[in-house]
Symmetry: D3
Subunit: 238 residues, 6 copies
Amino acid sequence: MRPSGRAPDQMRELTFEPGFTVHAEGSCLVSFGQTRVLVTASVEEKVPPFLRGKGQGWVTAEYGMLPRATHTRGNREAAKGKQSGRTQEIQRLIGRSLRAVVDLPKLGERQVIVDCDVIQADGGTRTASISGAWVALRIAVDKLLEKKALVDDPIRTQVAAVSCGIHNGNAVLDLDYLEDSTAGSDGNFVLTADGAIVEAQLTAEGETFDEEGLLRLLRLARIGCGDIFAAQLKATGR
Amino acid sequence: MRPSGRAPDQMRELTFEPGFTVHAEGSCLVSFGQTRVLVTASVEEKVPPFLRGKGQGWVTAEYGMLPRATHTRGNREAAKGKQSGRTQEIQRLIGRSLRAVVDLPKLGERQVIVDCDVIQADGGTRTASISGAWVALRIAVDKLLEKKALVDDPIRTQVAAVSCGIHNGNAVLDLDYLEDSTAGSDGNFVLTADGAIVEAQLTAEGETFDEEGLLRLLRLARIGCGDIFAAQLKATGR
Amino acid sequence: MRPSGRAPDQMRELTFEPGFTVHAEGSCLVSFGQTRVLVTASVEEKVPPFLRGKGQGWVTAEYGMLPRATHTRGNREAAKGKQSGRTQEIQRLIGRSLRAVVDLPKLGERQVIVDCDVIQADGGTRTASISGAWVALRIAVDKLLEKKALVDDPIRTQVAAVSCGIHNGNAVLDLDYLEDSTAGSDGNFVLTADGAIVEAQLTAEGETFDEEGLLRLLRLARIGCGDIFAAQLKATGR
Amino acid sequence: MRPSGRAPDQMRELTFEPGFTVHAEGSCLVSFGQTRVLVTASVEEKVPPFLRGKGQGWVTAEYGMLPRATHTRGNREAAKGKQSGRTQEIQRLIGRSLRAVVDLPKLGERQVIVDCDVIQADGGTRTASISGAWVALRIAVDKLLEKKALVDDPIRTQVAAVSCGIHNGNAVLDLDYLEDSTAGSDGNFVLTADGAIVEAQLTAEGETFDEEGLLRLLRLARIGCGDIFAAQLKATGR
Amino acid sequence: MRPSGRAPDQMRELTFEPGFTVHAEGSCLVSFGQTRVLVTASVEEKVPPFLRGKGQGWVTAEYGMLPRATHTRGNREAAKGKQSGRTQEIQRLIGRSLRAVVDLPKLGERQVIVDCDVIQADGGTRTASISGAWVALRIAVDKLLEKKALVDDPIRTQVAAVSCGIHNGNAVLDLDYLEDSTAGSDGNFVLTADGAIVEAQLTAEGETFDEEGLLRLLRLARIGCGDIFAAQLKATGR
Amino acid sequence: MRPSGRAPDQMRELTFEPGFTVHAEGSCLVSFGQTRVLVTASVEEKVPPFLRGKGQGWVTAEYGMLPRATHTRGNREAAKGKQSGRTQEIQRLIGRSLRAVVDLPKLGERQVIVDCDVIQADGGTRTASISGAWVALRIAVDKLLEKKALVDDPIRTQVAAVSCGIHNGNAVLDLDYLEDSTAGSDGNFVLTADGAIVEAQLTAEGETFDEEGLLRLLRLARIGCGDIFAAQLKATGR
């Protein structure tokens, strides 16, 4: 039995609240249960220096956690004067995941910066961020298409992410904080709507795993991402 | 006529959503029209080093702005590696305002850290932060009273803040971004519910002002804070 | 009775020593009693990036305190690797105060950077800095006029600043450190020679104040700034 | 055909030079072909603050790259004043991998800090680092056992890492820089000598992958790690 | 002929103004011609961590240059967030020079921090700093002796520094900025009043030098330091 | 008797291993006994901003120490976020020493960055760095000459450095860590192959010195550098 009473292959309640803020070209508040992340997509009509004049666009991401998003207050990264290794690892992952489904030359010489700020954390902030980031990006790109700044849609397909892990000997989907902090091993999968794996990251903490375990977790991830893909479509009115 | 159609002494729509997040001892989402700030109050059972063993508590504040809270995206302070002068100025003001209504020895040897994170900005983020900070602090202290960690209430009275300014030659209350960015001079007033002024900060930008103007703005501030005090009471069930 | 024996509306001894250093286009050593600030105005024939090509100039300020300007040594900000919130707050105030009396388009595409470095502190370092900054700026601009780099004088009027506060229940002018550290509430006023208020900042520490108190302090500030304006004129040979 | 002429499941020439430096408790120079990493293990008789008094030890890692380890010179992180996200990601991975095979309570209240400094880079610096780190750690722990500072061996088994990827449509083992920079997708596997997976990280760049591909890469990783385990044993005289 | 008209072995006008500031235990404004450095000596009744409990004191120094001490304004190190290599090199030299004439155990478990802040620069800021630092230190130690905090004088002798160089083929003493920036080679000598060399630093810029040249410069340095020693004694009333 | 059994004027075993790494235009591993420094010379076809368009090249150096190059592990400068004063002092010295023997206009508008990274430290890391830096620079410049990017050789002569000091009352050459840490006074000399002194830095620690001592140390330095010059020639095949 999972602490939350969920079935092993059951996601937490999943919501995407599109247009949560008014200024960003795209935005949404994504909730995976108690985990809530505010995502905004900002379109800038220029690319970073390393891409200037190359006829292509760029998608990048930044990630942050409000100091009291967690059970006990963490120090504010802006006050400490640097982003933690964990923060940088996560924002690099979000950026790569989005770029995996975007045709950068089709985006033109512009950059989309996706900001994922965790308002409340209960496990799975990086997977919620990636899943919500796609929604914010989709909305921002739809606006570019609508006002004819873009002719061809540069987004090839959907991308979503979910965590899976071995908890009390059982493979379970979408771990909350309670499960996450006691899981023997867990991982994050980033999948596309057309069935491909973009990223797979598995870590044994205490308990190691093998091929069998890896495949079992991946099977759960496919189930979870299926739910997310459906919710993303609904949120973006597709 | 104000751009928003408001009367000169009319506040924007004012809401306090208490308990917006689950982990913090106190929290609220405060809205002054489109300006929205998430405030959390975190109680820590120790004081900063300079107060150790002095038999009193401390209240401090930190302030941040999500990168895309504004019309165009600002750089993330955590990524730049330092907080701007504006950020530091505001968080010092919030802390002083709260301490003005708290009896620190009665708080005991504990610290309350209030985090004000601007989700969406449309003028008046510092005044909304102070006003919301009192609500979050009130909720956190109520919990301490409830569980008998405190016997006497250390909060002496309410504190609230509002901006006033001269826009198109008229003294107006609670400026939104449009008014703020074109105001001849403006100021922020921090008042207590028992009628005292805690802070007054007035700045002439373009147009200077005199005693008459100062008093006119202060009169508006008293009206605005009256509205805020009422809403604070309602939000905290008093 | 004030600790220094001064009358309530009496400034400390006030001196401006123009041309204190040889390299800067303008400089002065300003003393408000024991508080001594070395101010230099440096003219650069270019504007900061955000103003390029806009046909106007800029005036900005930086502020610092030598480590042993104070009773006990403070850490050197250069060694700590960052400027405190207090430092940034003060240098922003100095810059705004100067810009309030300068016609920036008339200054042409050049920047004046005013450095205020506190050699010795005894209360009122920010008000001495602003008052001395005007003298250094005046000297630097006079040189530009003299060598015909400027035709029209961009400085509209004088600007000066002074602190006032409630000490032992009495409203007093130009607080020294002893008064400042025990004042119930105090404030800084930045005024122009033609009678306008540029900035007013009042803070209650312990004791709050009301309209009456605010006006009383303002009245003192007008007296003090009158003295400063006279001394500024004398120092700049006007 | 691979650019290097190697068979798909063939490692580059693999050497561990134990005792490369004289001061460290354990050290080795590890080479995966042209990739050379100097690894040292430093034993400190105290644990980091978060573990004090918990009766267990700690193993952590730091990673760096000499500026001209690469084809074109990179900026020195010490001069830039911060470690890149990539650096932090890698050193966190090395630390987790080592801790997966160490019984921390058996290590006692001491810390082993493993430094991995890349002298020359040609792809696979993180996998070479992990593989070499085990050798340096083994040597350092052997010294503790020898001088009876430890009675029970805290190292449970060997750990090694290798990269695999799809290059020109073929699954290949231990990618060099040329292959790595053009691989459709690749990953790093961290395995233990008793057959368990500690970490698996796969990233699609351009080409995504599926279960089949994942298992194919994992099979190669098992072959490669087998070679590394043998070389580690030889280097440590076991 | 030297640009200033001085003889080759002639110092610039040399003044020490003791007690220039009121708060520091010791202070002086030292001038070597147009070069003016404000030096303060602060006594702290504790030693840095690495000396705790060792029964000895410590003397250290910090150095800074006001932004407009120089011909063109330099960036403020506190604003840049770090001290330059030059600044650190100089403050390390000042500290070593002072410690060379102080009996640290006799100083007791206290630290003297000497701050040297350049108000105006015209060559020789480091040599003026060292020479003035001794005066400030002497005054601070005299106060400790006077109030019986110290019984034995920990200062063994005087220390002073001066620059020498080859300018237009001639060996000259105490270079000003004009000479310094065109000197073929130059050096700084730190000498004690009892004839010993504490530090000698010679650098060839363009022109190299040999034993002969080295000795010639050293002879000049002895002459210059003689003048400084006399002025130090006079300034400290000995 | 020296701890190592060496004669007073005897260098430690001296080796230059040219071409130690494959990517850099020039490289060598230099050993002065147990002190080992990896030096690379990187050629960049552009000059730093302050030299653009001036028709000359630049040579600069950076210095680092691997965390466990020393007896006890030091903190990684990249992790601390800044380079120590010692590091900056040394890298400035290396740069000046190299520039003293290079005709910068002949180098053309390109920069050579020399990185000196200490792999193992046993005293004399800065002198080994300078001596090895010349070898790496020589190799890099030879490649430029070979491929006709340069026609005239910009390197005028050899440069080398060695330390000397007074240990147990005797003047000794090339101090190892044991001697260095107990020397009464010591210094570093940078000499050219044609007999000139480029830099001389002497510091008294405990024991001061005089002209006699200075000349004695310089005489030893000439002996030591003679050995180094011969080894440099051999290493570069001249």
